[in-house]
């Protein structure tokens, strides 16, 4: 079959790889931040997971922030980062 040379419509994707924070071996005594994306029940899931991390791994205390709406970027990221050792957040529904 004849071949045709065409240009890909995908273009280029920007950006490289960013390093993640080094993990510590244990969560004991680490401050847990929750960033609620404001979807229904997101706080319930994230909150319960945080409670379980306190119960099972000795983490804590827990602090909660909420995005102004699921469809808006969070405006409190710097504050969350400064006040937490680990952060739980959610994506989509």
């Amino acid at each position: 079959m004849s071949r045709l040379s065409v240009l890909s419509p995908l273009g280029t994707a920007a950006g490289g790889i960013k390093p993640l924070a080094r993990r510590r071996g244990s969560l004991r005594g680490l401050r847990i931040g929750i960033l609620d994306n404001s979807k229904p029940n997101a706080e319930v899931l994230l909150g319960r997971v945080a409670e379980l991390l306190v119960e099972r791994a000795g983490a804590g205390p827990i602090a909660l922030w909420r995005k102004p709406g699921a469809s808006h970027p969070a405006t409190v990221i710097d504050e969350v980062v400064a006040s937490s050792d680990v952060v739980l957040t959610g994506s989509a529904d």
């Binding site: 004849s2 240009l7 419509p9 273009g11 029940n41 991390l53 994506s91 989509a92 529904d93």
Partner: protein
């Protein structure tokens, strides 16, 4: 990062686009919302070990991200086989596409060929780099002609304006897509339909401009239906959604002039829009009377605008517009009157939704009586009004995604 299995692909794409493909996702069974909170708490138990591991063990370093460039690809020369190829590669919307050969793309770029690497926008969620050339390749697939490219490029520029909130529009479960509204002399010059069937088929300029924008969003922006594009149902405007304002049939200043452009400038406005909701009114002969059907179509409990605000769009058919004008009404009068009438009593919302939005938007939903009414958006100025269509007694309400603002930009030719 926590999520549900149904949305895992979107979460992974979002992390990768932020340069963190190695960020770990802990997924529970879909859904989280719309079910009893007790069930949600039980789902937390299923995922806590995964969260613990993700937070205490360093992930493997990722491979270097594979970077796609506007590169040449060998494709089948046979036209039918090329369709199969485009579908398999995920380049298509399902309708026939035309092969984006170097020669066809070059013709579409025309005198812009020398600037083909110019970056018009970076499109989320993929952080895809929309160069002039990448846009032209999608225009070629869509069937666009060289004269359509400036409108497509202007629309892509507008979509990348932060006020538009493209990431949400690209990835939401809500059925929305950019509606392009073209104003100014370019509409007539390119034959962009503003008359009969203006939101339907039959005019090449509308068809291929709207589709070129959609394919750019899908291919460069990485909003693949059912993957990053999470629309529950979507709507058929996602094939193509482009209209010109019928400025000659409008009694008022056109949209771009309202926004500070000169009438002789050509502009495109993008809105994150639902499909049109029809307003049938053959009976009313006065402005006051016509408000009933328009307000009674706009004020629903299902559109995003009533919950989240934003800018619902009213497309007045020329005969309905004339009824307002005959009554001496300005466009501002029309907006205010619709806003005052298009309201929903609080007792028409479910108790859960009343409770939810009393927290999210206390000014409109909190601490009020059940007989109080909520307006369809925050202020009369947020309503958009344009005139389009042919003869007949129909208009349309086009709700928007809510958490988005329409953006108007000049078309550079």
């Amino acid at each position: 990062m926590l999520g549900t299995d149904a949305f895992a692909g979107l979460a992974e794409a979002a992390a990768a686009s932020l340069g963190m493909p190695h960020l770990q996702l802990a997924a529970v069974a879909h859904p989280i919302g719309g079910i009893d909170p007790k069930l949600v708490r039980a789902k937390a138990e299923t995922v806590v070990d995964r969260v613990l591991e993700a937070l205490t063990r360093d992930p493997s370093p990722p491979l270097a991200a594979s970077v796609a460039t506007v590169c040449a690809v060998a494709a089948p020369g046979d036209l039918d086989a090329f369709q199969d190829f485009a579908v398999a590669e995920g380049w298509s919307d399902g309708l026939p596409v035309l092969p984006p050969t170097e020669e066809r793309v070059g013709r579409i770029l025309g005198r812009l060929a020398g600037d083909r690497t110019e970056v018009i926008a970076t499109l989320v969620p993929r952080q895809g780099v929309a160069t002039l050339e990448a846009i032209a390749v999608n225009a070629a697939l869509a069937g666009a002609l060289p004269e359509h490219l400036p409108v497509v490029v202007a629309a892509i520029r507008a979509l990348a304006d932060p006020r538009f909130n493209l990431n949400a529009i690209q990835t939401t479960t809500h059925p929305c897509t950019p509606l392009l509204i073209v104003n100014g002399p370019i509409a007539a010059r390119l034959g962009i339909n503003a008359g009969a069937n203006a939101l339907g088929q039959g005019h090449r300029a509308n068809a291929v401009i709207g589709r070129a924008v959609r394919l750019t969003l899908q291919n460069v922006g990485g909003a693949r239906p059912g993957r990053e594009d999470r629309a529950t149902l979507g709507h058929p405007g996602k094939y193509s959604y482009c209209v010109a304002e019928h400025e000659a049939a409008s009694p008022w200043a056109p949209l771009h002039v309202e926004r500070g452009f000169r009438a002789a400038e050509s502009c495109v406005t993008v809105c994150g829009a639902e499909a049109p909701h029809n307003v049938n009114d053959h009976g009313s002969t006065t402005a006051e009377a016509l408000l009933f059907a328009i307000a009674g179509t706009a004020a629903t409990t299902g559109s995003n605008n009533i919950y989240l605000g934003g800018e619902p769009l009213v497309v007045l058919g020329p005969e309905h517009a004339q009824t307002f004008a005959t009554g001496g009404w300005s466009k501002a009068d029309v907006k205010r009157a619709i806003w005052e009438r298009a309201r929903v009593r609080l007792d028409r919302f479910s108790p859960e939704n009343r409770e939810r939005f009393a927290v999210i938007d206390p000014a409109r939903f909190g601490d009020r009586l059940l007989a109080d009414e909520v307006a369809l958006c925050a202020s009369p100025d947020d309503l958009m009004v344009i005139v389009a269509g042919g003869p007949g007694k129909h208009s349309a309400i086009i709700p928007t995604f809510g958490a988005t603002r329409s953006v108007t930009v000049r078309i550079e030719e």
